[in-house]
């Protein structure tokens, strides 16, 4: 875990409200981008992100840095919450299509990170690495991963949508994720422990 995030969690546990705006500055760009990509609606995306940040405030005492980074914690909650909202709306199909079409490029080089310059520099670099790694994936692997990631589709649903055998979809997801893991390994290893 980056020490900046570790300090923030410690302050949040102490009840320091200003730590919450710092947490916002470090993570809001990423979280809002993700929620918006899933939901396609700005107000809904903001609601999801604020709800998750509030939850981080309430549950900071239970965050366990041995299990992962603050970023992974927040992203997982936002994605989960956004997909729940999406399913509740029954708009899964349409948005899954837009996720598959949308690709990874638009605006990706211009992170609108908040007021934390260190976060801006650090995550601007990360964004370039992630974008490049996604671009280098075979398109079929990327498509399967994006349908799951942004559209919340299961492997069976992806197979049905693409008219591909289930086994093929499983292999694409496994192989694609393993490639991403190798490509992104330096980004999460150096930030932890």
């Amino acid at each position: 875990m980056s020490s900046a995030d570790g300090d923030l969690i410690a302050r949040i546990r102490d009840g320091d409200e200003t730590a919450m705006t710092d947490l916002y500055d470090r993570h809001a760009d990423l979280l809002l981008a993700l929620a918006y990509r899933v939901l396609g609606d700005r107000a809904d995306a903001e609601d999801v992100v604020l709800e998750v940040l509030e939850r981080a405030w309430r549950d900071a005492s239970r965050f366990d840095e041995r299990r992962g980074s603050v970023r992974a914690w927040l992203v997982t909650m936002v994605r989960s919450r956004a997909l729940d909202t999406l399913r509740a709306r029954g708009r899964q199909v349409r948005l899954a299509e837009s996720a598959a079409r949308g690709g990874v490029d638009a605006g990706a080089d211009e992170p609108m990170t908040g007021d934390d310059p260190a976060a801006r520099a650090e995550w601007g670099d990360d964004r370039r690495v992630v974008t490049a790694a996604l671009r280098e994936l075979p398109p079929a692997q990327r498509e399967a991963i994006e349908l799951a990631y942004y559209g919340g589709l299961s492997q069976s649903e992806i197979a049905a949508r693409l008219g591909a055998p289930l086994g093929t979809v499983k292999t694409r997801i496994r192989d694609g994720m393993q490639k991403l893991r190798v490509a992104l390994h330096p980004l999460y290893v150096e930030r932890r422990a």
């Binding site: 009840g15 990509r37 903001e46 405030w57 239970r62 992974a72 996604l134 799951a148 992104l184």
Partner: protein, 280 residues
């Protein structure tokens, strides 16, 4: 596919419901698998950077955030309150194991707040509302008590295939009996780039070689094994290494890993640990 192979789909929330349940049961038994999931969760978090940024009004959002924070109840390590309410499996995506189901946890504290705020001087209709709220609080309290009893009998719970992940992985029960069973077999993936003749090796579930020993990659073909690079795994059993492929002109149809003295060997001196053939 092995459970290790399924881990990526699990973290993406892409396993079908029955597959996800089976995977979570295995997850409860295997610390190595939990580490794999934790690591893949970091990869998954980074993927959010693939979504384009959008402009936003930071001042307004921060003001809303502070407003929510000031009226939010704090957890303060009160774990038991949440056990009963976090039972719903959620898109196969467990945040950290003790922080599931956003939203599902809110009712208990909010109901208590509502009871407190309503006070005494309300009309009869409102008092009916209070009674309902209190009934809701009592109901939740019973759920919590039930969940706590369940949490106390780890073995019994593990036998229940339909027990949810949130319960299986409740913080206080974490590793008591779960690490005793065997580790999954190690796995190694090679990403062979024929153009650059470089290999990226990724291993998991591979215990670190003891002091003075390393793992070595071998390229297998018609003749004697061709020595490849050496590496060692981290304490969590994973390794990522980039190394040269065989000399150009040397054909190979598969690869294998052995354990060798530090510095590597020119021919294998120990049994093959894992082996595979090129191109699946």
């Amino acid at each position: 596919m092995s459970d290790m192979d399924r881990a990526a789909a699990y973290v993406l929330g892409a396993l079908d419901a029955d597959e996800a349940r089976a995977f979570e049961a295995e997850l409860a038994r295997s610390e190595a698998l939990r580490r794999e999931v934790d690591e893949l969760r970091e990869v998954t978090a980074l993927l959010a950077l693939g979504a384009p940024s959008l402009p936003r009004d930071d001042e307004r959002l921060k003001a809303r955030l502070l407003e929510r924070v000031r009226s939010a109840p704090r957890a303060a390590g009160d774990e038991s309150r949440h056990v009963g309410a976090s039972a719903r499996p959620e898109s196969g995506v467990a945040p950290q194991r003790d922080s599931r189901a956003p939203g599902a946890r809110a009712p208990a504290p909010r109901a208590r707040d509502a009871v407190r705020k309503l006070g005494w001087a309300l009309a009869a209709a409102a008092l009916v509302g209070v009674a309902l709220q209190e009934a809701r609080v009592r109901h939740l309290a019973r759920q919590v008590a039930t969940a706590e009893q369940r949490r106390d009998s780890v073995a019994a719970r593990l036998a229940e295939r339909d027990t949810t992940l949130g319960q299986i992985l409740a913080p206080s029960t974490t590793l008591i009996q779960l690490t005793a069973t065997g580790q999954p077999a190690p796995g190694v993936q090679l990403f062979w780039n024929a153009a650059s003749r470089r290999v990226v090796l990724h291993a998991y579930g591979l215990p670190p070689a003891p002091t003075g020993r390393v793992y070595q990659l071998w390229f297998l073909g018609a003749g004697a094994p061709i020595p490849g690079g050496t590496f060692n795994s981290e304490s969590n059993g994973s390794a990522v290494a980039t190394m040269d492929g065989p000399p150009s002109g040397a054909a190979f149809t598969g690869a294998a890993i052995t354990q060798e003295p530090a510095g590597g060997s020119s021919a294998p001196t120990s049994p093959i640990i894992v082996a595979g053939t090129l191109g699946e």
